[in-house]
Symmetry: C3
Subunit: 381 residues, 3 copies
């Protein structure tokens, strides 16, 4: 393996793998961020990600590269989901995975199971809004702040980071100030009142003050905070997901020294690179976009690295559901990063030794440093 293709990657943000076989519709629905599959726009497999699956994933199922979609899906069904999952996770070449356990619309492999299948350490990332939504039904507006803080402190015992999904709800235009407990009480009162009257509907936090409160709780606990930024599914209003909307909050968090990790970022990855340059505690990745862009991910990685210092860029897949995505993210990231680094060496703009060092930083060392990943923090049974 090329020295500029980092071998033992740390995937600092992913989800679990689904545990069932899939028909073509089921596969296409999990392949991209589209909310449905229909004839009007053609197949989801006729796309950069679809062509990348056929090119890179088919050989792991004993097929020739570029196998037709139908052939691929037949072979996949023949092998069964457990075998397919094992092949892709092992081939991804991961040293560690940090798993967001806050989104589980159906049974998924747990962090521990993911780690076992992948032959990698696994760590937990706790979704802030989920904790708040789980806490709300058993508390009052007056008790909300303390109850959430307690619950988060408890979760921090075994997690290596938190994640905010404010992007999917209020959007990223969050104020900088740490809200007072009085402000949190008022906001919780609003929220709980608006949710009253239908106990069957799950609580859905969308209040700016509460998103911000959760982030500050995480900061006080001293664990890295991930933010969903940019690219997501059809539920996201992408115009509210520009990382620049976080500027005031990032400026307010910076003095604490707590790392903030901007996830995905596409198509605002240059903006994220700017934030990573100017704020000492801001980091970024291009997860989710990497595998969705397929061959196009090379330009994405190069653009993210225009301003971002090499010590501020991390790898993540943001894979969910399909085991292909853990592998494809890793393959495309390795290739894209190597192409970026090798081209600079070829043009004599940096040295091979520097390129290899940068590959190690980005592939795993930045993640180890930011999350302080140690054996003790690993997920165990």
């Amino acid at each position: 393996m090329n020295e500029t293709e980092p071998s033992g990657l740390i995937d600092h943000h992913c989800h679990g793998v689904i545990r069932r076989d899939l028909d073509r519709t089921g596969f296409e629905l999990l392949l991209t961020e589209a909310g449905s599959v229909g004839a009007l726009g053609g197949s989801a497999l006729d796309s950069q990600i679809g062509f990348a699956v056929r090119r890179w994933c088919a050989p792991l199922l004993d097929l020739p590269p570029h196998a037709e979609a139908e052939v691929y899906l037949e072979r996949r069904a023949e092998l069964g989901h457990a075998e397919v999952t094992a092949r892709f996770l092992q081939a991804a070449g991961l040293d560690a995975l940090c798993v967001d356990t806050g989104f589980e619309p159906e049974p998924l492999l747990s962090p521990q199971q993911l780690g076992e299948v992948a032959g990698a350490s696994s760590y937990e990332i706790v979704r802030l809004e989920q904790v708040a939504e789980q806490t709300a039904p058993t508390t009052t507006a007056a008790g909300f702040a303390d109850a959430v803080r307690d619950r988060l402190a408890q979760r921090a015992q075994t997690a290596v980071g938190f994640k905010s999904i404010a992007a999917y709800r209020h959007g990223l235009r969050l104020a900088g100030e740490r809200p007072s407990d009085a402000e949190v009480r008022i906001a919780a009162d609003d929220w709980l009142a608006s949710a009253n009257g239908d106990a069957r509907t799950p609580l859905r936090l969308t209040h700016e003050t509460l998103h911000r409160f959760l982030v500050w709780c995480a900061v006080e606990l001293g664990l890295p905070v991930q933010f969903h930024v940019g690219y997501g599914d059809a539920d996201v209003n992408l115009d509210r997901c520009d990382p620049l909307l976080l500027t005031d909050l990032l400026r307010a968090i910076e003095p604490t020294g707590v790392p903030v990790l901007l996830l995905h970022n596409y198509p605002f990855h240059r903006q994220a690179g700017f934030l990573a340059q100017v704020f000492a505690n801001v980091f970024l990745d291009v997860g989710l976009a990497t595998h969705n862009l397929g061959r196009g991910s090379r330009a994405l990685i190069a653009e993210a690295l225009e301003l971002a210092p090499f010590g501020k860029f991390l790898y993540s897949s943001d894979a969910f559901g399909l085991p292909e995505l853990y592998y494809l993210g890793a393959v495309l990231f390795r290739r894209g990063l190597a192409e970026f680094l090798d081209a600079g060496v070829a043009a004599d703009e940096w040295t091979a030794a520097d390129a290899a060092r940068v590959a190690r930083l980005i592939g795993s060392e930045n993640a180890k440093r930011v999350y302080r990943l140690t054996p003790a923090a690993r997920v165990t049974a």
Copy 2:
């Protein structure tokens, strides 16, 4: 011709050609989106589009590639506008044109004439705001909704799609909800009242509710709806033309299955690609930008295809006035798409057969499917 250079393109959004000879100022004014020609910034021909005209268009006027601008303009005048128009439209290699008939500041070739000169089928696209502005003087606020609906239904008999120019007026921040007739009445009342008192000024629709009403009329008629998005002339406030501002409306239209086509999009083409991935009925092109970017259009096409499924991307020139633009758009699009596809084949990331198939989808098949283009829908005398 290379198989990845689609031969019979469908230009799904263009305007008419002017019918007079031009001096240098007249030519430069029609070449780009600039509102004036002046000495301070040099010649409009010293630009990517100017160099592309000299490179690709000069040979069609029997000149060597890269002929100087003055030589080019002299030869153009010598041949006369009719001959020049015939040469460029025939050389564009079009199977069909969909012509927006709603902008005609001076006499232009009609859709039928364009089709005859180009040797292609031609279809009509009806501009929604123009219909509303034509309807307003002969109706009242109370009768506006019905009168517009009637007129649009009538136009839909012979058109293949509608177009909204909300981007040029209110901007694209349109709500999702279909307005009620009562809301339309109030909005029409506002609009007609504000326009009162000067019968000589043409009515100019800029009301958010009315733009939205028009779009929903089009959706109810079941015809594809085009939106001007992004890049346009000096009248546009480009910060209000990001396609992401349409998110709520796109989400509301999606269940109807009516296709929405995002036109131009530059420099928000990645955002448009995102929308095309996540919403089943959203499509995009990079018309207008393609010929304006000249050689730079290669990167544009590649970026638009990062997320957009290959079944969601179409060709348009958005040519207006100069016959060169119908040809140049087609040449640059063919070259840019072929370069994108061939590079993937050369890198063994997809196959030559897949590349040829994608070229056919993007060159014409997507347009045929979306607009249901049939001989019966053609413009006739």
Copy 3:
């Protein structure tokens, strides 16, 4: 030297060089736009700009290309700041510098000294907000407009342009209208009242009306107006720095014919290119970003030139403090522009003669024309 690498560049926007030796922290702080240097994110030298310094600057200090950072800094200290400054400024190959004298947190080389060291003509750019802040303490709200106009008229005697830093304060969402003197009086009253009570705090202008008033004063004096746009340090809220926010103001200024220069622009350089195409008096550069992106500046230059006419694009370094940045900006700009132009020649999309002509326009002729640079306007003792 290649003909497409312009030799005698005009750097139309830069600052002064610091006059002291630097330790590693001091050097890293001046190298990028980061507000601090810390261990969490690694060294600022592990970045595109850091690798570019080692590649391009080391040889000027008699070191091999790619010298390690520590070796570089030791050699730099050994030579001393005066010698280092002389080497880099002379090697930058500048014909002229336009120096913004409005930011001097510590003693810097004056425009005249810069010019002497660089062997180039130097000209002054006057920062509008600084003049207003200097004028305020000695006037009243009622007298403010006249006092500022007088002071600016005086400064215009010896300057070649003005600069607005509204981007750093209110942001670029400025209205188009020239404010009346009554509006200025009210705004000045607000501002001076809010600043009252603490005479030791320097006045900091952030009022939209006053920023706009200053720009219109500059326009009335007929000198080119520079705007900070986009990329800057951690004090900037980049979401308020999109050049598209200036659209109404640019449209209002256009009829005056006074040139407006959009500086930096990253990551909104495509938006700036659009404005340069559609408004006759708008120009742009990619200063500051050019050296910060290192090898990545090639794509930046190509993207800026997608829509911008070649007569509308200028060179600036926006260098401040470190003499390396004057040199690095020039080296990277020359290389990036040459790569852009040479690739077009190699692909036969324009001619070598055209490429050489464009290099001269962008390297110096556009600046000469826009600023009317004449010996008489030069800074003298």
